[in-house]
């Protein structure tokens, strides 16, 4: 990047907010994804939409790539600047522009931290359900760009169900507005939905209007413990089959229970093969009834023990501990590689068995936890990046896992996005025509491939051994 461009960028944001020193480059060369790193040419911190637009005009004119970045917690290499260029950090754009209590909407800038937003909204007696486990640090912009889900996804849906309108800046610097405060709007293609989950490849999101709902009146949290992980997985399918939709239905296997307890010191049952963390919310009588019914189902499926959280604090501690699962697994081995395979909920038990079989076949350690109620499992390999041979075995195992997920009617990622990591597998899921349409959309938004290049679309797809669909 030549000094003229740098000069222009500094002119827009001020000297303090464009950086190209070694430190800034190094600290924006990675994200939450293991084993990926690539240096950008500069880092920029815009303050408002006008600045973003002006920056894009400069970059567009000089054909310099841009990676938009929230907190870099994504797990698909989404913010690693593989083609260099500029990383745009959205942290300074962190205002809550408006909370409209008549329409039950909130309008925010993308850099606000999800948890801070949620706390603000809950302080007003309202509810914003999407709560990715990373919410203490992830941004709303990042959540939208990845279409993040969370512990409440089962009953309340994911980020896409709560975004009503967006303001964003296109690759050439034009400002586009989609949707609004309307609950119904079918004027043309749904560009709002298209931008959600677009992983920074179509536009830079600069403002979002989000749907809020009234909070549930009551809540109850329970743990069901199993000596056999298959029993736990079967319980998940069985609860759904019995037409109960809990707010949260999470699974953790034994190694995950151990590391989480080592961190959170909750006295979790270390001798169990798996536990389910279940929460129901809503009207008090309904919560009581559902929890009783769920307990019955757990017992039928041979739960060894069932316990109900005594206080809201205890419940919150359990949920917080579950949110630490992925990171806590790093206690076992130096490198932790998490995947995000999702299957229809009725197939959870089958998938759990598949994962264990595959782990054994490739001789790798795979721990499993995840949003079981959504069919969204996070099989996580604990390995050591320095041992190349082992890393190859892990890769082979994950290929088998994706294969199995698709065979069972599932997908290669339920919430973490495609980024660099899943790009070679995208075609497995969406097929040739799917890729063609997606590439044409990318071309329409970003003809010079400046926005987050190298993500989503791989140069080459992985060859699929078995071509069949469940």
């Amino acid at each position: 990047m030549d000094s003229n461009v740098k000069h222009l960028l500094r002119g827009i944001v001020g000297d303090a907010y464009f950086k190209d020193d070694a430190q800034s480059l190094v600290t924006h060369s990675y994200d939450g994804t293991p084993m990926l790193q690539s240096l950008p040419d500069g880092v920029i911190y815009p303050r408002n939409t006008a600045e973003v637009s002006a920056i894009m005009k400069v970059l567009h004119e000089h054909r310099i790539p841009l990676v938009s970045r929230g907190s870099g917690t994504n797990l698909c290499g989404g913010t690693v600047p593989v083609h260099g260029g500029v990383v745009m950090v959205m942290h300074r754009m962190n205002a809550i522009v408006e909370v409209d209590t008549q329409n039950l909407t909130a309008t925010v800038q993308p850099g606000i931290i999800t948890k801070q937003f949620i706390e603000h909204i809950e302080g007003l007696g309202l509810f914003y359900p999407p709560d990715p486990s990373s919410m203490a640090i992830s941004t709303i912009g990042g959540n939208i760009a990845e279409c993040s889900g969370g512990l409440r996804g089962l009953k309340y849906g994911t980020t896409k169900d709560y975004v009503l309108g967006l303001e964003c800046v296109l690759a050439d610097g034009q400002i586009l507005r989609t949707g609004g405060k309307l609950m119904k709007d079918v004027a043309g293609y749904d560009l709002t939905k298209l931008l959600i989950g677009s992983e920074g490849t179509l536009a830079v999101i600069t403002e979002a209007t989000l749907k809020l709902i009234p909070p549930p009146k009551a809540k109850k949290t329970m743990l069901a413990m199993y000596t056999d992980i298959y029993g736990a997985a079967r319980t998940v399918s069985s609860i759904i089959e019995n037409r109960i939709i809990p707010a949260t239905l999470e699974i953790m296997d034994n190694p995950t229970i151990r590391v989480v307890d080592d961190f959170a010191k909750l006295g979790l049952p270390l001798d169990m093969a798996a536990i389910l963390l279940i929460e129901q919310d809503g009207e008090p009588e309904m919560v009581e009834r559902d929890i009783a019914k769920i307990s019955g189902i757990c017992r039928e499926e041979q739960a060894a023990r069932i316990s109900i959280a005594e206080t809201p604090e205890e419940a919150l501690k359990l949920l917080t501990a579950r949110r630490s699962a992925f990171t806590a697994l790093a206690r076992l081995r130096p490198t932790t590689i998490l995947e995000d395979a999702t299957v229809p909920r009725s197939k959870i038990a089958e998938m759990v068995l598949e994962i264990n079989r595959i782990a054994e076949k490739h001789n790798v350690q795979i721990c499993t936890f995840g949003h079981a109620g959504d069919g969204n499992l996070h099989p996580t390999a604990t390995t050591d990046a320095r041992d190349l041979e082992e890393v190859h075995r892990v890769e082979a195992a994950f290929e088998d896992i994706f294969e199995a997920a698709i065979r069972l009617g599932g997908t290669i990622t339920g919430e973490h996005g495609v980024g660099m990591v899943k790009a070679p597998y995208l075609e497995w899921k969406v097929g040739g025509p799917g890729i063609q349409v997606m590439e044409a959309i990318k071309e329409a938004f970003d003809p010079h491939n400046l926005l987050n290049p190298g993500k989503m679309f791989a140069k080459e797809s992985r060859r699929r051994v078995v071509i069949e669909r469940g």
Partner: protein, 418 residues
């Protein structure tokens, strides 16, 4: 692992929102320096020095990353290569590390000198002419809040042994500290009295010296090790059940002597012997010995409320954040209020407030917002650095009349029913 869970816990990240000012960012810089991806240049050194060393990132990290050890290594490496400390920082560091803290008697001389200085009117003169201000405005504001230091340390006042009152529950060794012993001799005296009231024979080995915390945290590791060995010997000879510290900053390195000396196998057993016995004054009072009785706060202070500012090292390293709260609730009852973000660093951090005045002041400003919002009469602390920093904050906000910073030993002792 680069999950980012540590970011919201980090005060410098909270202040700046910049990745390089976060634990995840600093670790990536260290790694980049090791990998040869970047030069460990002046900016690298500054970034490492920008870290408060408060270690709030450690309990926040589910992966159990030992950030404290990483930053110490990085600073040691920087210290071996550095040429660029600003001249007065260099001067302060040299005085502090090499010439002052290792020598208890010099510390006491300094204390005596400070006293003369304060009482003789030189202080007033200097304040009026702002001579110190020309030197550094930070030193000037620090100078204003210096307590009445004394030329006499705790041993000169109480001797090396104080017997337990009533039934004896054990023998403890008192770690007197250097700053604590000259600047807060009264606090040290009250700590000993509290221990004796709780049923402990208190020994104060004369041969002990500085804990070495400042040295270790600033990259002067070899000297820290020497100091550690000396202390281990002194307390082993004293034959104690526990070693009590009343300064979170000292306590944290004392409980980590085993780590500090981990490269020296011949010290392994002794270091573990020592580390296992270290307890903060609040923790030992809350967990061992005879429970003490405290009088209610006086009526005319009916609205007097008390809050607690954590010592980062007590909380994050010694894991002793609960005991002071428990004791304060016993001693102040309903008058105890928890302030917002009490666990977040006050910006004192060893000599950070002198070497990094800008960031330190910014952090203190935000801390004072929370202190003021709590609307309290007393801000209780567990470490001399925090104590001074809170005094500084109170002074800066001009509320010295209505608000007071106190060490927990002072607060408890003054309310003791005997």
């Amino acid at each position: 692992m680069r999950c980012g869970f540590c970011l919201p816990a980090c005060p410098t990240f909270k202040e700046t929102g910049v990745e390089a000012e976060s634990p995840r960012g600093r670790i990536s810089l260290m790694k980049a320096a090791v990998d040869g991806l970047m030069e460990p240049n002046v900016m690298f050194e500054e970034q490492m020095n920008h870290c408060l060393g408060c270690r709030a990132c450690e309990p926040a990290c589910p992966a159990d990353v030992k950030y404290g050890q990483l930053i110490e290594q990085a600073r040691e490496a920087v210290e071996l290569h550095t040429t660029q400390h600003r001249w007065w920082v260099k001067g302060v560091r040299k005085a502090v590390f090499k010439q002052l803290f290792p020598h208890q008697h010099r510390m006491r001389l300094l204390g005596a000198a400070m006293n003369v200085y304060k009482k003789s009117g030189v202080q007033t003169l200097i304040r009026k002419t702002n001579a110190v201000g020309m030197f550094s405005s930070q030193l000037a504001s620090m100078e204003r809040i210096l307590p009445d230091a004394s030329g006499k340390g705790i041993v000169e006042i109480m001797g090396t042994r104080v017997a337990a009152k009533g039934e004896k529950h054990g023998t403890v060794g008192m770690f007197r500290g250097c700053l604590m012993d000259v600047m807060f001799t009264e606090t040290n005296r009250k700590t000993v009295e509290l221990l004796s009231e709780a049923g402990f024979d208190v020994v104060i080995p004369e041969a002990q010296n500085c804990c070495g915390a400042l040295h270790a945290h600033s990259g002067e590791k070899e000297q820290a090790k020497e100091l550690a060995k000396h202390n281990i010997r002194a307390f082993q000879e004293a034959g104690v059940d526990f070693i009590v510290s009343n300064a979170g900053g000292c306590g944290a390195i004392l409980v980590e002597y085993d780590h500090l000396l981990h490269e020296e196998p011949e010290w392994h057993d002794q270091a573990i012997w020592f580390a296992k016995r270290v307890k903060d004054i609040s923790t030992i009072l809350a967990e061992k010995g005879r429970p003490l009785q405290y009088a209610a706060l006086p009526q005319d202070q009916g609205t007097a409320r008390v809050t607690y500012q954590d010592s980062c090292h007590l909380r994050n390293v010694m894991k002793g954040g609960q005991a002071p709260r428990q004791l304060l609730q016993q001693a102040a009852g309903g008058a105890y209020v928890e302030m917002k973000d009490a666990g977040s660093c006050c910006g004192s951090a060893g000599i950070y407030n002198m070497t990094q005045p800008e960031m330190s002041n910014q952090i203190l400003e935000h801390k004072m917002e929370n202190v003021n919002a709590a609307g309290v009469r007393y801000v209780v602390t567990s470490n001399p650095g925090c104590h001074l920093q809170m005094k500084l904050g109170i002074e800066k906000h001009g509320c010295s009349g209505q608000m007071e910073a106190l060490h927990i030993a002072d607060f408890l002792y003054d309310r003791l029913v005997r």
